[in-house]
């Protein structure tokens, strides 16, 4: 079997970052993160440098996958969004498509209602970006001309 990869172009990441930035401002959230469905962090806006984005991405993808299985057990097609409420920080997690998840980190400075309202608008834009991204032709692996020794050297 040939190894399969998914990729996202710089141009699409920039577009997504722009949407995340506007969402953060409009919702008055602390940070907005965009995560690939298998738990890889793609991009974000706001106070992301203060967050462990790698761990958040992995745990969120796992919780979305678990929620999806729970939905199926209850005869639901999906639980497309989840809300985690803390004392000072909250998370709104929304599935954008099969392979992407939007996370909004927010505090008491704003309200869940405003966050959800603004997320709804952002999701439409992000879906469009991913749709256009999917139309791009498959490309050769960026490692296609790499030698064994070039791979081996990172393990030394």
């Amino acid at each position: 079997m040939r190894a399969r990869s998914t990729f996202i172009h710089d141009e699409d990441v920039q577009k997504c970052r722009g949407v995340c930035g506007r969402l953060r401002t409009a919702s008055q959230a602390n940070a907005v993160l965009l995560v690939e469905g298998n738990g890889q962090y793609i991009s974000g806006a706001g106070e992301t440098s203060e967050l462990d984005t790698t761990s958040i991405a992995s745990l969120t993808a796992a919780s979305v996958a678990a929620a999806s299985s729970l939905a199926h057990l209850l005869g639901e097609a999906e639980f497309p969004s989840m809300f985690y409420e803390g004392v000072s920080s909250n998370l709104q997690v929304t599935r954008i498509a099969e392979n992407a998840i939007l996370i909004v980190v927010f505090s008491k400075q704003t309200s869940l209602g405003l966050v959800r309202l603004r997320v709804r608008g952002a999701i439409k834009l992000l879906k469009q970006i991913f749709l256009e991204s999917c139309k791009r032709a498959n490309i050769a692996s960026p490692l296609s001309n790499v030698s064994d020794s070039e791979i081996d050297q990172i393990f030394d």
Partner: protein, 198 residues
């Protein structure tokens, strides 16, 4: 399925450690965590019960270095070994790029190993993967204990495809890095032949 982010110039790959309960999957990750330069690893997360049995998964992100300007990042996961956590095991295999099957070499655990191996094949198939087509390493763990099954016999049961395999004692670190390096290399070698989909 690896993920290439051209904006951050990163290749991200997912490795899953699979095997029966108490075979040493978490111990493998803990050893790697403690022996890796802090700058090359992220936080190790263990979603475990109060008795330190894996409830959902362990997670360890590692950065290995660059190949032609592309950063290589590996996300290592373990699955919960106990039989009744099958729904969780299935979820962890989603998007897997390479598998380490950890065998508990003790004779009384032979049946549990066989059950876990069959379960791995079944759960991979549910995601559309075939074990014989995925990068695989078989690790014969706990070789320091008594009442062991001979490695040759374990090979005939769990490694008929002759994937790279290693004897190990994960608590001491023997065979741990050999196992990880071998599966990570196979994943990267495999990516040369593949293609990327948007």
């Amino acid at each position: 399925m690896s993920f290439i982010n051209y904006s951050s110039r990163e290749i991200n790959c997912k490795i899953v450690y699979y095997g029966p309960g108490l075979c040493g999957k978490t111990t493998n990750l803990q050893y790697i965590y403690h022996r890796t330069n802090p700058g090359a690893r992220g936080k190790m997360i263990s979603l475990a019960t109060e008795t330190e049995r894996t409830l959902f998964f362990d997670f360890l992100p590692l950065a290995l270095g660059e190949i032609r300007g592309l950063k290589t990042r590996f996300h290592l996961y373990t699955t919960p070994g106990q039989v009744f956590y099958d729904a969780s095991r299935k979820l962890i295999l989603k998007g897997v790029d390479g598998v380490v099957f950890v065998v508990d070499s003790q004779l009384p655990r032979l049946e549990a190993n066989l059950e876990s191996f069959d379960n791995l094949i079944e759960n991979l198939e549910e995601h559309g993967y075939r074990l014989d087509e995925l990068p695989l390493v078989v690790q014969y763990n706990k070789r320091d204990l008594n009442n062991l099954v001979a490695v040759q016999e374990l090979k005939s049961l769990f490694n008929t495809r002759q994937a790279p395999d290693f004897s190990a004692c994960a608590t001491e670190g023997d065979g741990v890095f050999d196992t990880f390096k071998s599966v990570a290399k196979q994943v990267l070698y495999g990516l040369r032949k593949g293609h990327a989909e948007a």
